[in-house]
Amino acid sequence: GAGVSQSPSNKVTEKGKDVELRCDPISGHTALYWYRQRLGQGLEFLIYFQGNSAPDKSGLPSDRFSAERTGESVSTLTIQRTQQEDSAVYLCASSLESQNYGYTFGSGTRLTVV
């Protein structure tokens, strides 16, 4: 596609439920990144994929968070047993391997845990 697409754009869930967030990167972009942004704060790195491997998972805040990527395309970020502190905007970005931090971001998924 023309840009990075994320779905859903908004998600309201009850505490304790599992949620799946989806990211469709730009076609041909081998690198894919997930970030979390709490209200009024900067971006917090979660995980990075090069292809479908995850070379850096160090940003995942707990074992309730996991992510997968199918080939060099779609990625899903799963949050199990959601907590209120998980409420945030989850942003996905992709880039060509040759681009040095030239990320293209999606518009994010706004997750609200009630």
Binding site: V4, G42, F45, I47, Q99, N100, F105, S107
Partner: protein, 112 residues
């Protein structure tokens, strides 16, 4: 990763030139400097990237002194639509790919 320090907020008026400085005292030899712009309810958007001296594109200029311990994003003749958060990012994709710390950014408010 090199830690960056930016002013939390800046105000300007339409038509003025705005300069936002980012400090990165621990920048490494292989690190590049990249700036992003973020509007409310949107993901950040790439503005400009540089390694040293000056880089200019259709949107902005980036000034990097010889010691590379700081950089300045310059926005010429800002308009109301330039009101956004601006992030400075420093790192080398090869050694720290993806693990980028954006910090809290600089909130620029352009007034009429």
């Amino acid at each position: 990763l090199a830690k960056t320090t930016q002013p939390i907020s800046m105000d300007s008026y339409e038509g003025q030139e705005v300069n936002i400085t980012c400090s990165h005292n621990n920048i490494a030899t292989n690190d590049y400097i990249t700036w992003y712009q973020q509007f409310p309810s949107q993901g950040p958007r790439f503005i400009i990237q540089g390694y040293k001296t000056k880089v200019t594109n259709e949107v902005a200029s980036l000034f990097i002194p010889a010691d590379r311990k700081s950089s300045t994003l310059s926005l010429p003749r800002v308009s109301l639509s330039d009101t956004a958060v601006y992030y400075c990012l420093v790192g080398d994709k090869n050694t720290n790919a993806g693990k980028s710390t954006f910090g809290d950014g600089t909130t620029l408010t352009v007034k009429p």
